[in-house]
Amino acid sequence: MTPGLAGFVVASDEMTWDSALDEALEALRGAFEVVLDQGSTPGGTRRTWFDTFDWRLYRAGLSLEYVATRRAGELVVTGTDGNRAVAGPASSWRATRSYHASDLPDGPATRRIAGLIAPRALLPMVTVSTAGTVARLLNADGKTVARVLVERPAVEDRPLPPRLAVGEVRGYPAQARRAARLISLAPGIEPASAEGAANCLLKDALRAIGRRPGDYSNKVDAKITADMAAPKAVATILLALLDALEANVDGVLRDTDTEFLHDLRVAVRRTRAAIKLIGDALGLPDQEYDRFAAEFKWLGDQTTPVRDLDVHLLDFDVMASRLRAAKEDDLVPFRTFLQGRRAREFRALSRCLRSQRFTALATQWRAVLDDVADNSNKSEARGGAAVRERGGAAVRERGGAAGRGRRVTGGERMPTAGRLAVGRTRQAFRKVTRRGGAITADSPPESLHDLRKRCKELRYVLEFFAPLHDKAAYSTVIGDLKKLQDCLGDFQDNEVQIEEIRALADAMLRAGPVFNGAAVPAGTLLAMGELTAGLAASQQAARAAFEARFASFAGPQAQGHMAVLLEAR
C-alpha cells in the first residue's frame, strides 16, 4: 500500500465528522465491497514532530517525525515533494526530550538534516496520537484492490479533524483513482492541502496548542506599516525584540543548544541599537532612556563570557584540525579548561536570568512599550492631535558617535514610520561611508572596530524597518552590507579570539593542575600559540581585503542600490 496517494480531511461544518466519514464510505460501497479490517489496524501510533527552535527543517521544506510503534520507534523524513522515507530506527528516542545532530541514525536523509540544524538541537514540537482503521476495497473476485486509511488524530486528548488516505495496491492504480474520485464527491470531505497530508496534520496539531510552524525566527518580525505613527512603530519593533529575547530565556537556562544564548544576545544588541537609533520616537524622559539603556548593557555584558567560550568550543574541532606543528591531542587540556570555565560562567548567567533585576527589566520595559503603543492608538483615534503634541515634545534628532542628541522641538507633525525609516537609514548609511572612507592603510585597528559598529547599526536600522522596504531592493542592500560586515567581523573576531586565548593561557597557568591533576603541559601552550598564529594570519587577510570590500560597498553601484531602496519605499 502506498499511503497518501490521495489525502482528504474531514472538515465538515454542517455535519459531524462521523457522519461525513459514513458518507465517504457509503460513496465507496457503490463501487466496491468495503471491509473494515480490524486485523491490520495501524491504531495507537504516536508521532512527534521534531524541529529546531527556529524551524530550520520546516523552512527547508522538510519534516522529521519520530513515530512510536508498539515494537520500536522510527524516524520518518518527509521531503519537499511530500515523499515520506524512514530515516532509521530510533529505539532510544523519546517524544519528550531534545536531541542533537549526533543522535540521528546515519543515512543520506539524516545527514542532510544534520547539515541543516547544527549547532541547534531538535526539540519535540507537538505529539499527535492517532487511532486508525483500514477499510479494504474489494473487487468482484473479493480481491483487495485499494485501501482507505481512516485516521483519527488527537493532540493531548483534543481531537483533530479525521483524515482519509487512499492507498494504492500495486498493479491496481485505476481502482485507487476511482476510490479517490468517489471520496472527493462525498459531502464534508475536502482534499488535503497540496503541500502534503503530513504538513497539514502538523499545522492542525500546532493550531490545537496555540502555535504555528515557523512561529519563531531570529529575524526582526515587527508588524509595522509605512503610515503607522512613529512611536507606535518603534514600540512595536521593540516589543518584537523583547518577545524574541524572552522566547530564548528558557532554552538558555536549560542549555538546550548554544543558539538560544546567541539569539538572546542578538535581541539584546538590537534592543540597545534601537534605543540609541530610533528610541527617541518613543518620547520617553531622558532618565528613562538612560536607565533602560544601562540595564540592557548590563544584560548584554552578563551573557558575554559564556558566548565567548561557546565560540571557542564550537570552533574547536576546526581550529584543532588546522594545527601543523602541534598535535590535536595537545589541545585536550585546553578544551577541558574551556569546558570547566564555561560551566562556571553558565551558573553565573543562570543566576542573572533568574534574578529579580532581569525579571523587573523585562516587565517594566514591556509596560513602557505597551503604554506607548496604547497612547499612540488613542491618539490615532482622536485624529492625530495628541501625536502632534507628543511629537513636538519628544522627537529628538540624535547625532554624534555618543548617541546623545538634540531634541527637536516645535509644532512639527510627528513623523510616520516611513519617514523615520528613511531618515535614520540615510543617516546610518552616511555615517558608514564617511567613517569608512577616512580609513587608510595606516589607520589603527580601532577605526575598523568603530566602522564595524556603525555597519551593525545600519544593518539593524534596515532590519527594523524591513517590512516597509521593497523586498528585492532590501535584499540587494543587505547583500552589499553583509560582505563588508563579514570582512570587518573576521578582522575583529580574530583579534578578540587571539586576546582571549592569551588570557586563557594565563588563567590556565595560574589555575595550577587542570588536567589529570597535573599542571598545563607545555605542548598545550605551544598548540594554543599556534592557534593564535593561525588567527593572526586570518586577521591580516581580512585587513588586506578591507580596502577593496569597502570601495565596493561605498562605490556608485552600492550607493545606487541604497538610493533605490529609499526611493522605492
Partner: protein, 257 residues
C-alpha cells in the same frame, strides 16, 4: 535478496500450497516478498484472487520487452506481492530455448536480478516437469524446497535432483526436502517418514500432514497460514519456514551480504 523455489518433478505433491504458505510467513515476518507463479495452471494466482494474466504474456517478459516489475500485483497482505501466472507460460521452454546455449538456463536469474532493489525474498512456484524452465529455476534459486509424498519412489526423484544439482559448476542451491501430505493413520507413511528422516540428510524435521484445511485453501482463496493461523497445519508450515530460513548455508550467505 534470497530466492526460494518449491520444486518437484511430480504434480499434486503440495508445491503451490507450500510456496503460498511460506511466502505469506516470510512477508508476515517483515520481509518484502514476491511470489512468481510460474505454473500456467495459475493455482497460486487463484489463491491470491489475482487474474492469471500478464500483459504481453510470458514472451514479453522472457524477451525483456516488459520488465518483471511491471507485472507485479499487490496481494491482500502487506509486503506480499505476486507475479501472476499466464497461460502462455506453457510455452516458456520454447521461449527460453533461444540464444547461446550456455545462457539459456540463466535467463530467469537475469530477469530476477533487478528485483533485489525491492524485495528481500522471492518464491518461485514451479510447474511439475523436467524442462528448461525447471533448470532455470534451479540455477536461480538459493534454496530448493522439495515436497515429498512418503513413498519409496518419491525418494528416487530426490536422488535424481541431488545428482543433477551436483553437475552444476560453481554455486549450487541448498536443498531441503520435507514430507508432504503425510497421513499418520497409514503405517507405510509413518515408517517411511521415520526411516528416511534418520537415514538421509537434507530432509526437514518438519512433516506436513494431509488435512482438509489444505483443500479448503482453494475455497477460501487464501494461505492456510493466514485464514487458520492457529491450526496444526499452519503451525507445521511455521516450523518448516523456520527450518528453511535457518539453513546453515543460507545464513552464511546472509552474513556475507
Amino acid at each position: 535478496m534470497k530466492i526460494y523455489a518449491t520444486y518437484n518433478i511430480k504434480g499434486g505433491v503440495g508445491k503451490t500450497t507450500t510456496a503460498v504458505s511460506l511466502a505469506y510467513l516470510a512477508a508476515a515476518e517483515g520481509l518484502r516478498t514476491v511470489l512468481w507463479d510460474l505454473d500456467p495452471q495459475g493455482a497460486a494466482s487463484f489463491m491470491f484472487r489475482v487474474k492469471p494474466r500478464v500483459k504481453g504474456g510470458g514472451k514479453a517478459i522472457i524477451r525483456g520487452q516488459r520488465s518483471l516489475d511491471d507485472a507485479i500485483k499487490g496481494t491482500d497482505y502487506e509486503l506480499l506481492d505476486l507475479i501472476p501466472a499466464d497461460f502462455t507460460y506453457r510455452n516458456m521452454d520454447l521461449l527460453l530455448d533461444k540464444g547461446p546455449e550456455a545462457k539459456q538456463n540463466r535467463k530467469l536469474s537475469r530477469l530476477l536480478a533487478p528485483l533485489s532493489q525491492e524485495f528481500d525474498a522471492v518464491f518461485l512456484d514451479c510447474p511439475p516437469s523436467i524442462s528448461l524452465v525447471s533448470e532455470n529455476v534451479l540455477h536461480a534459486a538459493d534454496v530448493i524446497v522439495v515436497p515429498l509424498i512418503p513413498t519409496t519412489l518419491s525418494v528416487r526423484t530426490l536422488d535424481q535432483l541431488t545428482e543433477f544439482l551436483a553437475t552444476f559448476p560453481g554455486r549450487r542451491p541448498e536443498v531441503l526436502a520435507f514430507f508432504s501430505m503425510v497421513d499418520r493413520r497409514k503405517k507405510l507413511h509413518r515408517e517411511i517418514v521415520e526411516e528416511l528422516s534418520m537415514k538421509r540428510e537434507g530432509i526437514a524435521r518438519t512433516a506436513i500432514g494431509s488435512a482438509a484445511l489444505i483443500e479448503n485453501m482453494s475455497v477460501q482463496r487464501a494461505p492456510v497460514t493466514a485464514f487458520a493461523p492457529s491450526s496444526t497445519i499452519a503451525k507445521a508450515y511455521k516450523a518448516l519456514w523456520a527450518e528453511v530460513s535457518e539453513l546453515p548455508g543460507l545464513s552464511l550467505r546472509n552474513a556475507a551480504g
